[in-house]
Structure formats: C-alpha cells, structure tokens
C-alpha cells in the first residue's frame, strides 16, 4: 500500500508501475493511459484515412483518369469509410475522452472494469490489424464501400472477409466500452452526485453507451451472416438462394443509423461542457439537454429506414420512417437553441476551444438542415445516393463529431498533458480548417442537387466546376489539419508546462483534480453538493 500512496503523487504520465517503457502503457489498466492509447491509435489511422480522402478529391479535380484508376478509387473510398467509421468516429469521443474524463468528471478512481477496459483497447487493435490484412491478402482490397451491400459483397472477387471480421471485432470493443461506461455511471458516481447533478458529457456518454450495447450486436450478427454466406455458402441475403438483399440493408441500418448517434451524442456533450465555461454561465436548459439526449438515443433506434427510401421498400414503410425521422430532428433543434441561449448575457472568452464549439454549432446546423431535406420523401428520392448525401453526412460526422473532437482536444489538452498548446497556431489552424471544410463540402450540396451520384470515380463535364472548388477545399482543409496536429503533438512534448488545475475556470469535477491527474485521480474522492456549471 505504501508504494502506491507514493505513486499517487506522481502524474499518470510519469509514474512507474510493474512494467516500464512502452509496456507500462500498452499493459496499463489506468483509464487515462488507455484514453491516450486510443488517441494515438486514432491519430495514426485518421491521418491514413484523411490522406485517402484527399487523394480521392484530387482524382475528382477533373473528369476522367487523373491520378488513379477506378479499381484504386473504389478500394480507397471503401477503406476511407471503414477506417473513418469503424476505427475513428464510432469509438472516437467515448474511447478517448470518455475513458479519460468520465471517471474524473463523476469523481471516480477509474472505470468499473479497468482490465476489461484495457482488453477493449487490445480488441480494438486486433480488429484494426484484421481489417488491414484485407489490403494485402487475397484478390485485392475490398471495393464494396463501407456498407458491404448484398449481393455485391458476395460477388466481388475482392478480399471482403477480413474487413467484415475486423469490423465485427471492432464492434466487440465498442460493446465492452459501452458496458463499462454504463456500470461506471451507475455505480461509481461521487457521493452526492445525484443523476441530475451529473455533468452533460457523462450524460451523453450514458445515452451513447446504451446505443453501443443495444445496436452494435446487430451489425455484429449482420457481418457474421455475410461472412458465413461468403465462406460457407449459407443462403441468407443472396437473391440467387432466395434471400432478400433489402433485408441486409434493414439489418445494416438498424445498427448504422443509431451508430450516427453514437458518433454525434458525445460531441453534443462536449459542446455542452465548453459553452458554459467560456460563457461563464450556467448551461441553459440542463434538463432539456439531458432529456433530448435520451430521446435521441431512443427514437434514433427506429428511423433506420430513411437510408433506404429508394431501396424498394413498401410505401407504408417509407411513410412511417419519414415521419419518425422528422421527430428525431426535434431533440437536436432543442439542443441548438439551448446552446445559443447559454451564450446570452454571458461573458464570452475567445479562446481556441470556444472557437471550435461555436463553429461546431454552425456546421451542425447546416448538417441538420440538410438532413431535413433528406428526411422528406419527395426530395429524398431525388437526392438519395448523390453527393448531397455525402455533404450532409460529412457535415454531421466530420463537422459534428470531428469539430467536437478537436474542441475537446483543445479544451482538455492542458489537463491531459500538463502543458499548454500554442494558441496562435491553434487559432490559425482552426481558421484554415474551417474555411477548407466549407469549401470542400458546400459544393457537394450543389453537385447532389444537380444529380451527381456518389461513389463516382468519374463524372460528366457539367459537374466539373463545383468539383474543382471542392478539391481545392480539401487541400486547404488538410493544410489546416496538419497545422492543428503538428501544433498539438509539438505542444504535448515541448509546450509551456502548467500545473494549473483549472486553466479555463471550469466548474466540473475534472478541474479539481491535479494537472495532469495522478494515478488514482484523487487523494480523497470529492463530495458533490452543487449542480454542475454553477457560475455565480
């Protein structure tokens, strides 16, 4: 015991456990180290997938063959999708910031199952490795798109099975993280932290974790069935054996639509943390935000059909799904109103996390409004499977999850590393990234309205103009991303040291812990008496 008390004075970055060096990290059951492990893994794969995206945009800068052939292009957008969805944004915020800050924010020493938590990361890495083998084995990399739609996924000679198995394994990691978080939130809240005194980021993690638990098995079994169909010849979805390819789409989207909320809900939580701090104000409508998060998680489970409006479903189903889709728009609208109201009469502090948060609200609104156009039946028929959809989901998934991820990274950076990032570089990176983002994706709305389908390697000359703008935007945005990443990586090693427990003046519990936090976070577990965000 005495040894541990000693080590609890050192920061989690420095203490020496049973293992030294790299082993002290990849075998650590400390939630903070695991959070950083996820962060570094994601940084690597985000870079890979972002470069794939950039190459695709460069290919599309002019019609015809510019830098690659169609086979390469199709393999690239498949890999871009698989990495971005299954490896980056689905685990994204929960795995990195949930792991790191959930225990800190609710006043716990760790998550409920630390060993399971480490196992999740290992399963995650194994899943990634399996996915990667698909690139180097068999008859070429997968070319189905990340959706693996039947029956193309049985017919293509490409090496689909490892990608499916890898995604299945990644799903396992996601489920285990979800179980861990729900138990942690139920069992390990600090004394006095009633449910309605819990900060909003843990609340959104709670809603997210439930979706992870209840939706991920659906994709698991779907991918497994596809694997069996491909390897054993079991007839499930193959129309040649009597199966229904549309049923595959049902199962796929029963998971993948809620997965969108796995991606965006924690992002909403992050924004709900940052805005009050930088407005010096209590969050507006705390209960409304909590309720709307739970409502999104629940209703979001029953709207999957809006990904299939032109798939050949019955008209009755289209009607029902469109109606439910419009209902799920409301909780998101409520959140936006509450965020704006939080700024009202505040004392707004212009710093990098705040810029990210405000720009999040803006791009999230564009993403949401374009979603309304897609939820409406008449317009969806025209816009479905066009670049409009590509723009829409990048506004939500990249604009939403991506912006909130970067907001969270800047917001919690000093707590995580005990160092400050360079603010002027960070702000410049944000500005370039934001401008590039808009230039990249706004023209895609136009292209979609003009009728350019998605997953197009080549296009008719009439679509050329907007594609040039979009491709240039991609280059600009990658430039911005490079500045941000280089700045943060540099600052994490050489940035100005700080032991300030609370550099931004936050009111939630994590700002009462040491900077950077010690192994077990607290000498004494704090007692909670007030609601979060009680600015006077």
């Amino acid at each position: 015991m005495s040894e541990s008390t000693k080590s609890n004075h050192e920061s989690f970055l420095e203490y020496k456990g049973k293992y030294r060096g790299i082993l002290g990290w990849i075998l650590s059951t400390d939630h903070k180290r695991i959070g950083l492990l996820y962060l570094y893994t994601m940084l690597v794969f985000f870079s890979v997938a972002a470069i794939l995206g950039l190459l695709m945009k460069i290919q599309l800068i002019a019609p015809g063959h510019t830098i690659m052939g169609p086979a390469t292009y199709n393999a690239m957008f498949t890999m871009h999708g698989i990495i971005m969805i299954f490896i980056i944004v689905v685990p994204g915020l929960p795995a990195v910031f949930g792991n790191f800050f959930l225990p800190l924010m609710i006043g716990a020493k760790d998550v409920a199952f630390p060993k399971l938590n480490l196992a999740s990361w290992w399963i995650y890495v194994i899943g990634i490795l399996i996915v990667l083998t698909s690139q180097f084995m068999g008859d070429g990399p997968p070319d189905t798109g990340w959706t693996f739609y039947a029956p193309y996924s049985f017919q293509t000679p490409a090496n689909i099975v490892p990608a499916l198995v890898g995604a299945f394994v990644l799903g396992f990691s996601s489920i285990l993280t979800g179980i861990n978080f729900v138990v942690t939130i139920h069992r390990l809240r600090a004394p006095g932290m009633k449910w309605l005194k819990m900060p909003l980021f843990p609340w959104t993690l709670y809603a997210t974790a439930w979706i992870q638990i209840l939706a991920t098995p659906v994709i698991g079994i779907t991918l497994l069935l596809t694997v069996m169909e491909r390897t054993l010849g079991v007839g499930i979805f193959d129309p040649a054996l009597g199966g229904d390819p549309i049923l595959y789409q049902h199962l796929f989207w029963i998971y993948s639509h809620p997965a969108v909320y796995i991606m965006i809900l924690p992002g909403m939580g992050v924004i709900s943390e940052i805005l009050p701090v930088f407005s010096r104000k209590r969050i507006y409508g705390y209960k409304a935000i909590v309720l709307s998060s739970l409502a999104i998680a629940f209703v979001g489970y029953f709207v999957w059909g809006h990904h299939m409006f032109t798939s050949g479903m019955s008209g009755r189903a289209l009607f029902a799904f469109s109606f439910l889709t419009f209902l799920v728009a409301i909780p998101s609208a409520i959140k936006v109103f509450n965020w704006v109201a939080t700024m009202y009469k505040g004392s707004l502090i212009f710093q990098t996390p705040f810029f990210w948060a405000v720009s999040f609200v803006f791009v999230f609104m564009i993403g949401g409004f374009s979603g309304l156009t897609l939820g409406s039946l008449a317009t969806n028929v025209h816009l479905h499977d066009t670049h409009f959809v590509v723009a829409h989901f990048h506004f939500i998934v990249f604009g939403g999850t991506g912006f909130s991820f970067l907001a969270a990274l800047h917001y919690w950076f000093p707590k995580m590393f005990g160092r400050m990032f360079d603010a002027s570089w960070a702000n410049m990176g944000w500005l370039i990234f934001f401008a590039g983002f808009l230039a990249l994706y706004l023209p895609m709305f136009y292209l979609g309205i003009m009728g350019m389908p998605r997953r197009y390697y080549d296009y008719l000359p009439e679509f050329h103009g907007a594609n040039i703008l979009s491709s240039l935007g991609a280059i600009l945005m990658i430039g911005g991303a490079l500045i941000i990443i280089v700045n943060l990586v540099r600052s994490s090693r050489y940035g100005e040291k700080t032991n300030d427990k609370n550099p931004w003046g936050g009111k939630t519990l994590e700002w009462q812990a040491d900077t950077p936090p010690t192994l077990e976070n607290w000498e004494d577990i704090p007692e909670v008496t007030e609601k979060p965000y009680e600015y006077k």
Binding site: G17, K18, D30, I179, V182, A215, G235, L241, L519
Partner: protein
C-alpha cells in the same frame, strides 16, 4: 489483482459486476433477436417451405434437448442457492450435473446435425441446393441459429469448468460468489434462447 502500482485499492463491487453481466446479456438478446427477425421475415415470405422444413426435424430430439436445458438451468440455479448457504459439496454436485447436461446437449446436437449432413442437407450441399429457395433459407437459418447457440453452449462449458475449479479451490464461497452467479445468468440466457428456437424450428407446422 497483480502486484502492480496501479489500482492498489482492491475494488470489489458485486452489484456492478452483475449489472455488467446483465448488459452483456442484453447485447446477446439483441444479437439473437436479429436472427429471429431474419427468421420472421423469411418465414413470412416462405410459409409453406418453412412448414415443410420444420417437419424434417426430429421433434423427439428437440424436446429431449429442451428438457435437458431446462433441467440444467434449474441445477445451476440450485448450485447458486447451495453456495449462498455455504454448502460447497452441494454446489459442486449441482454444477457437475449442469456441466454433464451441457455436454450431452452437444452430443445430441452432433447426431442431429450429422444425420442431416449425411443426406447432403448442409449449406451449399447438393441435396439442399436442389430444393426450393424457401427450404434453402430454412436450413441455412437452422444451421446458423442452432450453430451460434451451440457455440454459446461451448463457451458455457468453459465457464463451468473454470467456476468448478474456483469453488474447489475455495476462491468462490458463500460471501464471494459473483462468478458463479454471472455464469448462472449466462447459462439462463442460453436456455432462454433455446426456449424460442425450439418451437420455431421443431414445432410450428
């Protein structure tokens, strides 16, 4: 816990462990739930083929396996009662019976599958592919669903062996039996799934 500078306070929370197990069970329920959904859709679309497919299966073997699983569920529940009362011997006996039944279940399954495979009634098998689409789907689902269920039985057997040894070594005892309790919950889940698989494949004509 390992002698590691990390997490020196040994944190024990049986209620939390049980909650975790329940959450895992929910995951499993949804996983099998989706298989039931696939089954429901295809049965709805191919009613006659599914009816005829069901008649091919051996009701006697199915019923036998159902009763076996129900008994094993009861014995595992009894072994929990026993350990709670501190009756180590009883607990071991009940657990042993459960383990034995699980193995017998798999043996039955082996004979059942074996007979069908011999006729060429397996996915991709020639005898099966000659039949109609509905029948291919029925037997595809039959193998997938009972197969994944059998996989869960196998995992259950592994868990039982581990728990059995832990009880023998007095690692699991009347004040710390969460491993046994969670294993029991898992086993009831396996039973729960079978309760639905049985009528869907063997009974409904």
């Amino acid at each position: 816990m390992e002698k590691n500078a990390e997490h020196t306070h040994v944190h024990r929370d049986d209620e939390g462990d049980k909650l975790g197990m329940w959450l895992f069970i929910f995951t499993e329920l949804l996983l099998f739930g989706m298989l039931f959904l696939v089954y429901a859709v295809y049965r709805y679309r191919n009613p006659v083929a599914f009816q005829l497919g069901g008649e091919e299966l051996d009701v006697f073997l199915g019923t036998l396996n159902t009763v076996l699983l129900l008994v094993s569920s009861a014995t595992v529940a009894m072994s929990i009662s026993a350990i709670q009362k501190g009756l180590k011997k009883h607990a071991l006996v009940f657990l042993g019976i459960t383990l034995l039944i699980a193995v017998v279940f798999l043996v039955n399954k082996y004979f059942e599958w074996g007979a069908k495979i011999e006729y060429g009634f397996y996915p991709g098998g020639e005898a099966l592919l000659e039949l109609g689409h509905g029948t291919i789907l029925f037997f595809g689902l039959y193998y997938v669903m009972t197969g994944i269920h059998a996989l869960h039985i196998l995992i259950g057997i592994g868990l039982f062996i581990y728990v059995f040894q832990q009880i023998r070594a007095d690692k699991i005892h009347s004040t710390d039996y969460i491993w046994l309790e969670n294993t029991g919950l898992y086993w009831h889940l396996v039973d729960l799934i079978w309760i639905f698989l049985f009528p869907l494949f063997y009974l409904i004509h």
